[in-house]
Amino acid sequence: MLTILFDGIAYGMLLFVLASGLAVTLGLMNFVNLAHGAFAMAGGYVTVVLMQRPGLPFLATLPCAFLAAAIAGAVLERLLYRHLYGRSHLDQVLFSIGLVFMASAATDYLMGSEQRIISLPTYLQGRVDVLGVAVGKYRSFIIVLCGLLTIALQLVLSRTRFGSRLRAAVDDPRVASGLGIDVNTIFAVTFAMGSGLAGLGGALGAEILGLDPNFPLKFMIYFLIVVTVGGTSSITGPFFASLILGVADVAGKYYLPAFGAFVIDSVMILVLILRPQGLFARPR
């Protein structure tokens, strides 16, 4: 029971790191980016390749996964995304679905269609017994790392100058740029950071979520749930939504395996009906 709760929390933390970038683009910048999972997938594959070819240790590949996805995000933002900020949601949906198709097919072409497995270092394998509860080492590692990231993210957004500029730019881009804030750069940096976090999440999650070319489509719904259920006005909403989703999903798969993804999808629909603005947001 407690093990399930623990695994669920680890899963939820992971989902939060994966989806936090989307919480900013979709939630704050109001851009429907269905291709967010593609950056996570890129991060995952970077880790796989770096561990196989040059044989880097797992921990060393994590920053590379972050960097690679962030660079990919920055380049795409400058080249493509920024032209679509003001466009209709339909255009954004079409564009990002197109990107997902391209990313999946390109990954299939480059890496093959089979599921990739990351061999964790031995010190992260296995379980330890803490007060009678079997706790996976790797999952505790994820909880600690993602917890630190979450705190850092929250501090950056609420305490730094960059954070306040970002909030200003999101609230009203015109006024913000009138005040001398470089809105374009802020958006680009934010997008790159969000993509980087997704890449890091993809690398961390390859062991738990699995990694294959269909990753962006398979987990698209999860990311969207985190953001829509969590509400879009803060970063804490998506955080709690991720935890709930993680625990619910792990528990659902354990106790009600026959229902599969059914539970999660139904819960999302229910939440959207009862509270269209998200669980944790105040109605605007």
Partner: protein, 346 residues
């Protein structure tokens, strides 16, 4: 005020009626289009299976056009209704009620009922929650179909779907001759119906909602009721398209609920253009030809090119492209001395 308005009102209604009648008049371009379709049906006997697929895809895109092009509802899960129709028709046929036309009617009715129920969820909230709910509904239905293998056959698909001859006369043959004629015929009938509907006062009120829901409400259009109605109508169309697939391929698989199916039909409609009914038809043919071309070049990775087409379409602004091509057609037609569409009809 009301006294002086009464005679005016009669004349306004008269002129509105004649304007509507003008819209419904059959234009030369349309006759040519269906003429080409008819010739294609009989002139390409080796392509019956492809024609069948195109007709089904066209009907599916037509249903999305009703929802997206005429009511402005962006759906990421239109396959929910397609899949429902397919399973309903498949199950009916398997368990004894094998008349194809009856199957179409029942599948359409069940899909419409589902559309009616889910419209209550879809019509709440913003674009974003609509996207999520439509997507979620399709996923939930796919999951249900997956978890009920005793009914749907699960991952193996529903086998043993053997419909009776159409109208008791035309048996389904192995070359797909009956299938393609049956699908194309259904498409034509459903198209006529859709054409009648969108050019009715009901259709006009839908367009006013799409263009400006606030103003539409202000002049007395019951916005949410109209949206529910058109969503159910679109669902019925999609259900019939799914039923056609089940009957003509005599098989239903879980793929009917796939996200890719919803995405593909969106692409089909965007290629052809929204809001004038022919978009889905033209787009379906173009999409299938494109898909065949791409998969001839790269059998496994054709999706990459489909994705590229999507991205490019967004960047060259599909709506502007469409207007340009229509303008060009108009100029050609004017040169030839035939007006394809009266001004202001778009």
């Amino acid at each position: 005020m009301t006294n002086s308005a009464t005679p005016d009102r009669a004349s306004i209604e008269g002129s509105a009626g004649s304007a509507l009648a003008k819209l419904t008049r059959w234009r030369l371009g349309e006759t040519v289009f269906w003429g080409i379709v008819a010739i294609g049906l009989f002139a390409l006997p080796s392509r019956y299976l492809l024609i069948n697929e195109i007709a089904i895809l066209a009907l599916f895109a037509l249903s999305l056009d009703l929802v997206l092009g005429y009511a402005g509802i962006v759906s990421l899960g239109h396959a929910a209704f397609f899949g429902t129709g397919a399973y309903v028709a498949g199950l009916l046929t398997k368990y004894g009620i094998a008349d194809p036309i009856l199957g179409l009617v029942v599948a359409g009715a069940v899909a419409a009922a589902l559309g009616l129920v889910t419209s209550l969820l879809v019509l709440r909230g913003s674009d974003l929650s609509r996207l999520m709910v439509t997507l979620g509904v399709a996923l939930v239905l796919g999951e249900i179909a997956n978890q009920l293998p005793s009914v749907t056959g699960g991952a193996d698909g529903l086998q043993g779907v053997a419909p009776e001859p159409v109208l008791g006369l035309f048996a389904f043959d192995i070359f797909g001759r009956t299938a393609s004629l049956y699908s194309a015929g259904t498409l034509f009938v459903m198209f006529l119906l859709a054409r009648r509907i969108v050019n009715s006062p009901f259709g006009l009120s839908l367009r006013s909602i799409r263009d400006n829901p606030l103003r539409a409400a202000a002049i007395g259009v019951p916005v949410s009721r109209r949206l529910v109605a058109v969503y159910a109508l679109g669902a019925a169309y999609a259900g019939i398209a799914g039923a056609l697939l089940a009957q003509t391929t005599q098989f239903v698989s879980l793929e009917v609920f796939d996200f890719n199916r919803s995405a593909d039909v969106l692409l089909v409609l965007i290629i052809g253009g929204t809001g004038y009914l022919y978009g889905g038809l033209v787009g379906a043919a173009a999409f299938r030809v494109m898909q065949d071309g791409f998969s001839a070049i790269t059998p496994q990775h054709w999706q990459f090119w489909i994705g590229l087409v999507l991205v490019v379409l967004v960047f060259v602004r599909h709506d502007r492209l469409l207007r340009l091509s229509r303008g060009a057609l108009g100029i050609v037609a004017a040169r030839l001395g035939i007006a394809t569409r009266p001004r202001g009809a778009t």
